[in-house]
Amino acid sequence: MYRILTVACAVILMAGASLAAVVNLPNETQSTTFTATVSEQANVSVPASVAFNVTNVSADTNSADQSVSATTVVLSDGKALRVEIQADAANFTAPFGGTVTWAAGDISWDAATWTNGTGSANALSTSYTTVATSNANAASLSASDLTFTLADKNTVDRAGDHTLAATWKFSSVTP
């Protein structure tokens, strides 16, 4: 009985093996494409204020070195990031009793040493004026030795707080 069953199984297996054929699926290489859409972006940091320790109004006064940076800059191919600054008013605000103070144009800055960009020495005005422009496709733009200079003005007639608000602008207005 066992012998008959064994022979029968062997016959069935052989028949199955001879009937088996490779069946091709419509698409054997199913794949998934992962796409990350990266937007242009930048992370920026600028000082909140700059102080001038004026001990002689007849001489120029330099600020301490200032740091400005743009990191994780991701741009479309061939584009650049620009850093500009604009005075919010034409003049400083003088302390109580003062009649003469500095004009915005009395502030200037040096070209500084920029990493991945070019600095421009300019004077402050009530229009946005270039401080630095990144190289095209730069991943960062930074300087840590940007110095502002307050020009001499020996007609200033009051000690105390002379302040001026200004705005840092980051832009990449390139088509």
Binding site: A51, G78, R82, T118, D161, T163, T167
Partner: protein, 277 residues
């Protein structure tokens, strides 16, 4: 002076130096991340397009109030200044097509402000390029302590370009001049088409006697507008005096402004270094 007196004097001096250093150390209170940096759309008359702009405040920043607005912008002829004005100030402004929401908001540290921009292109608009900027300004905190001494107080601002092309636009530009000024090479380009162009290029310096390439400098990523000032001067710092000493050179400018061809010019120039090297 006894030991106690010396110690007191040393403590007072240390405190004074600390206070002075605290006053002189720059504070990094303005920091944020933003995206995107430009919005460029090819559209048809009557089309509506929606985009978003995100600004994330630094985690260590105080809560900050921001105000958004759409502005026209253009550059000075020497490319040193950017002017911003109310929408509709320039002929090819798309500022009046744009609406934004929200217009202002307070953002907490680490939080993101999302501004929705909706652009509706007029039905009767003519082909060409139109542009504006989405500006987001930090609004000064009226309760913030006043700075003491003689100081500049800063706030942050970001502007992203909005560019809309209504086909068929005319892309056309020409090289108007090359010159050396102090330690810079200046190239003047004119956009005589009707759409803003992106300027990239390279300057090759050849020693005149040897016709041998000695230095290359690149310029990149600058806009060249067709209006209201269609000529712009782009400058690039000359290579070091060691690399490019005083002498006569042939300068070859190769500019890519996104046309089907490159703009090129060649000119003989004399470079005179201040130290005579």
């Amino acid at each position: 002076m006894g030991h106690r007196g010396c110690k007191l004097a040393w403590t007072l001096a240390t405190m004074l130096v600390s206070v002075l250093l605290a006053g002189l150390t720059p504070a990094y209170a303005i920091g944020f991340h933003f995206s995107p940096l430009n919005i460029s759309i090819q559209a048809r008359p009557g089309q509506i397009a929606n985009r978003t702009f995100n600004l994330t405040l630094a985690k260590d920043a105080p809560p900050t109030h921001f105000k958004a607005h759409v502005q026209d912008w253009w550059r000075s002829a020497d490319n040193r200044q950017t002017f911003y004005a109310a929408p509709g100030s320039i002929r090819r402004s798309c500022g009046l097509w744009c609406s934004i929401n929200p217009v202002e908001a307070t953002v907490k540290p680490g939080e993101t402000l999302t501004i929705r921009l909706s652009i509706r292109v007029p039905d009767d608009i003519k082909p060409g390029g139109y542009w504006a900027a989405l500006t987001v300004d930090e609004v000064p905190d009226p309760l913030a302590p006043e700075p003491s001494g003689i100081a500049m107080v800063f706030r942050g601002s970001v502007s992203i370009g909005i560019f809309i092309e209504i086909p068929p636009a005319v892309r056309s530009a020409k090289l108007a001049g090359i010159q050396i000024s102090e330690d810079k090479l200046l190239v003047k380009l004119c956009n005589d088409g009707d759409i803003p162009l992106r300027v990239n290029g390279a300057f090759e310096f050849y020693r005149l006697e040897e016709d041998k390439l000695v230095a290359t400098v690149k310029i990149g990523g600058e806009p060249l507008l067709p209006d209201p000032i269609n000529t712009c001067e782009f400058s690039v710092a000359l290579p070091s005096a060691k690399e490019l000493p005083s002498g006569k050179y042939k300068v070859r400018a190769i500019m890519d402004v996104g046309l089907d061809y490159l703009l090129g010019a060649e000119k003989q120039l004399e470079i005179i270094r201040a130290n005579g090297s």
